[in-house]
């Protein structure tokens, strides 16, 4: 680790606020200045209460039930009429779903703007992105924010295994990756169906199993085979949702909550990554997840992503090994791993190594002005235009994390246009030079400082500040 005091303390405050945090709010830099690392470590367990707007949201079960009811209505209307369903039934579904999506997006960005625990909030975003569900698939668009709040937020204070288990049992993940009706060929239901057909793999869906191995734990080169994917898919058959469809055999259980269905679970012992797991129903899948959660490939995979997020697009190999080692030795203890990142030297070595994602840029702008729009559509519209529609990464791999992906020419132009719009809204209420000092401190370069001071109007100065390389990076 570099000798303490190698950098002027204030630069470290900027790094703490912008790279680990979500961008400084006015006054934050001076509050941090005494002890930037301490400020970060104090946030590891998160706030004692969830943000107010988040608390106000309904739970997954009630939203899923509501959405399914409206879907049923639409289905019935379709069957009743000879041609298309009446427009207002279709519209109702769309508007129900959209209402939830906007409420959740609003809550998230308000939380991100107002929080005094921005490092914890950034970790929530990171892990939520790691276990991405995408709102472009129904009914996930009504659930993605709830998923983030119900399983990611409360599970960053303990072991990775507990987070993993909560994620894979949440209805949003199960429905996103089609596991609720994945049927084991030798299960009770599977056997009955097989009597009528001769297909080997009738009923099995590999999607969730594959993504758990490839994206959530081991990583694409983590050492699993296609056979492991298929076998694991069998192990997690039965991981389903209560009351999920109108068909008789799937309507039991508490609607909208996790339900283990033994009648579609593939019985017997199964071998994954050369270990045999005895046939113990739900516990079988949990045992596999426990081993995946502490596997060395998982440690390397997660360490790589964390270092890439907090240090550089090209993660320094030594730090990755160090963090992976911490992960393994602590049994996947997340606060200990996050602490190791804070206490390593690499993230503190230079001010602006990461190009902000559109979301980073937008949140840091809201924090700089200490204002978040009341209408969620403004947030969705802005991010949509910059290529990062909230909760819609489009795939379970989540949003990418490198300048290569975010650094398109047109995307930059969109950021400039948006900066211009924000500056117009802000008007003359804020002095851009004062704001630049407040949120970037000593990291505000002379070139940018001069450009802002020579702006022909306050608004133009604000546009220049937001578009500046210093504000566009963290």
């Amino acid at each position: 680790m570099a000798a303490k005091g190698a950098l002027p303390l204030k630069i470290e405050s900027v790094i703490a606020a912008n790279r680990f945090g979500l961008g400084a709010r006015p006054g934050e830099l001076s509050r941090i200045d005494g002890n930037p690392r301490g400020w970060l470590l104090d946030q590891l367990q998160g706030p004692s209460r969830l943000p107010e707007d988040v608390r106000a949201l309904p739970d997954t079960a009630s939203v899923l039930v509501e959405v399914q009811k409206v879907r049923e209505m639409r289905r019935e209307a379709k069957q009743a009429e000879t041609d298309k369903p009446s427009p207002d039934v279709v519209q109702k579904f769309g508007s129900v779903v959209r209402r939830h999506y906007l409420a959740q997006t609003n809550a998230r960005f308000r939380a991100a703007t107002e929080t005094d625990y921005p490092f914890h909030e950034r970790l929530v975003h990171f892990w939520s992105n790691h276990f991405a569900v995408s709102a472009d698939k129904q009914p996930v668009s009504a659930l993605a924010g709830l998923f983030e709040n119900e399983v990611i937020r409360p599970n960053l204070g303990g072991k990775f295994y507990d987070l993993l288990l909560a994620v894979e049992k949440h209805p949003a993940m199960i429905v996103y990756l089609d596991n609720q009706r994945s049927i084991g060929p030798n299960s009770t239901l599977g056997q009955r169906a097989n009597k009528r057909r001769s297909d080997q793999q009738f009923g099995l869906n590999e999607n969730l199993a594959r993504e758990i191995l490839e994206l959530h734990t081991l990583g694409v080169n983590g050492g699993y085979t296609q056979q492991d994917v298929t076998t694991f898919a069998k192990v997690i058959t039965g991981w389903s949702i209560g009351g999920s469809t109108s068909r008789g055999r799937f309507s039991d259980g508490v609607p909208g909550t996790f339900q283990f269905r033994s009648n579609i679970h593939e019985p017997g012992k199964h071998k994954i990554l050369d270990k045999t797991y005895k046939g113990s129903g739900l516990k079988q899948g949990e045992a596999v997840l426990r081993d995946l959660a502490t596997h060395e490939s998982t440690a390397a995979h997660l360490a790589t992503k964390l270092v890439r997020h907090f240090v550089a697009d090209d993660p320094p190999a030594e730090l990755v090994s160090e963090i992976a080692q911490v992960f393994l030795e602590s049994g996947g203890d997340l606060p200990i791993v996050h602490q190791a990142l804070v206490e390593s030297s690499e993230p503190w070595q230079s001010t602006f190594r990461k190009y902000k994602s559109p979301q980073d840029f937008v949140i840091s702008t809201f924090r700089a002005f200490d204002r978040v729009p009341d209408d969620g559509r403004f947030i969705v519209g802005a991010l949509d235009m910059m290529g990062q529609t909230p909760y819609k990464p489009g795939s379970p791999a989540g949003w990418p994390d490198t300048a290569e992906h975010w650094g398109g020419a047109d995307a930059l132009y969109k950021r400039i246009e948006w900066s211009n719009t924000v500056a117009r809204y802000a008007g003359t209420r804020v002095n851009p030079l004062e704001l630049g000092n407040a949120v970037l401190g000593p990291a505000l370069g002379d070139h940018t400082r001069t450009a802002i001071s020579r702006a022909e109007s306050v608004m133009q100065g604000t546009t220049l500040l937001l578009a500046s390389p210093e504000f566009q990076r963290r």
Binding site: Q201, R210, A411, T463
Partner: protein, 400 residues
């Protein structure tokens, strides 16, 4: 077993490969246009071009099978074995005019089933994900000339996909809803970025695209929310406008998502059918907007891999291997199917579940880049697709 023609090619290339890099290229045909459409999510080649003529087709595909040519909602007959998905009506018309060609049982050299790695390999032009950090199409740009502000290629998206990333400058464009920043502000931002290459390059490219877009007054600048097909069509129209603008790019790359049909895929109708209809209409809009330039255009529609032959437990398909690629354009030597067809017999399937790949998609790309864009074969073999002797160029895809 290697045939004589292939052997001669290998020997010939061995000699050329030792020639010096940086040799002056013959002038590339700057009138030729190339559009690459990447379908992300592994589009089902067996649904797009169904081998209805195979005896076991219906039983293997179960509820995904489409009925034979001539029946209601049946495939559109390509030949005695293959039929085009009925949603691809405009593409079928092009096929009948010999302006569309299908390549089947094709894939990149990638053999796993991860979308992200699969797309990586489709775009990086080598054999492994991460094997190269730039794209084959970017590497192919060097002989085409083009410079900052006058790029030869454009990505029709906010951010540049891997296939177009690399040392050679490309630009990008996507529709916007916000008012433009005024000229004075933009000039000051240019100065602000003067010392930072990452920002100054991108701004210059964006301004150039904006200039072109602005010159075509009725450019689609609003995005209609919630209507993917309309948006895709609008983007295709914009691409065509860029390609026909004076000093505009000659290559465009578009991407399309939603092809990962794990559940409720449908057959002649359903979710995949709807997507195919949207794609078909988009391509038709592109063709019309290109006008006379269509006669010297090639559009290639590709995807990272295919899907399982059999339906899965959720009325869809899982990730597979070989799939189909479609070439369209006035410059295409079409009206046929290029395929070394392995069939669907179970012992001919890849890992017992997927269509077996018999053509490497790099062979197809090479054929297009040489015969259509005049990028020299020795450059293709040494720089664009290094170490790809196992993927010899497919000739004759382009009309001479």
């Amino acid at each position: 077993m290697i045939n004589r023609r292939e052997l001669l090619r290998h020997i010939g290339l061995g000699a050329i490969a030792t020639s010096m890099p940086g040799v002056c290229f013959a002038k590339a045909d700057t009138d030729a246009r190339f559009v690459l459409v990447v379908l992300r999510g592994a589009a089902d080649g067996l649904a797009i071009a169904a081998p209805y003529g195979e005896g076991r087709y219906k039983s293997l595909r179960g509820e995904l099978a489409i009925s034979s040519p001539g029946t209601v909602n049946g495939v559109l007959k390509l030949d005695g074995l293959f039929g085009l998905h009925p949603s691809l009506a405009s593409t079928y018309e092009l096929f009948k005019k010999n302006e569309a060609l299908l390549i089947h049982a094709v894939s990149s050299p990638y053999r796993e089933r991860s979308h992200f790695d699969g797309q990586d390999v489709l775009e990086n032009g080598v054999t492994s994900a991460g094997g190269k950090r730039d794209g084959w199409l970017n590497r192919a740009l060097a002989p085409l000339g083009g410079s900052l502000g006058d790029e030869a290629a454009i990505a029709m998206s906010q951010n540049t996909p891997l296939v177009l990333r690399g040392d050679n400058s490309v630009t990008s464009w996507a529709p916007s809803q916000l008012p433009d920043a005024d000229d004075d502000t933009l000039r000051r931002i240019e100065m602000l970025y003067a010392e930072d290459e990452f920002f100054s390059t991108r701004l210059a490219q964006a301004l150039e695209s904006q200039k072109i877009a602005g010159a075509m007054g009725n450019m689609e600048s609003s995005r209609r929310r919630g209507n993917d097909a309309a948006q895709a069509k609008s983007l295709m129209l914009s691409a065509a406008k860029f390609l026909t603008a004076p000093d505009g790019p000659q290559i465009a790359v578009l991407e399309s998502g939603g092809w990962d049909t794990h559940a409720n895929q449908g057959s002649a109708s359903g979710s995949l059918a709807n997507r195919l209809e949207g794609l078909d209409q988009g391509l038709e809009a592109l063709r019309k907007q290109l006008g006379s330039a269509w006669s010297n255009t090639v559009v290639a529609v590709v995807t990272e891999f295919g899907r399982t032959v059999k339906v899965n437990g959720t009325r869809g398909t899982d990730h597979g291997t070989a799939t189909v690629a479609i070439l369209l354009g006035g410059a295409v030597n079409g009206g046929r199917i290029v395929a070394d067809w392995p069939g669907l017999a179970s012992n001919n399937l890849y890992e017992g579940r997927d269509l077996y790949p018999t053509t490497d998609i790099r062979s197809i790309f090479k054929g297009i880049l040489w015969e259509h864009l005049q990028i020299p074969p020795e450059y293709l073999e040494s720089q664009v697709f290094p170490a790809s002797l196992s993927a010899p160029m497919t000739e004759g895809l382009i009309r001479s």
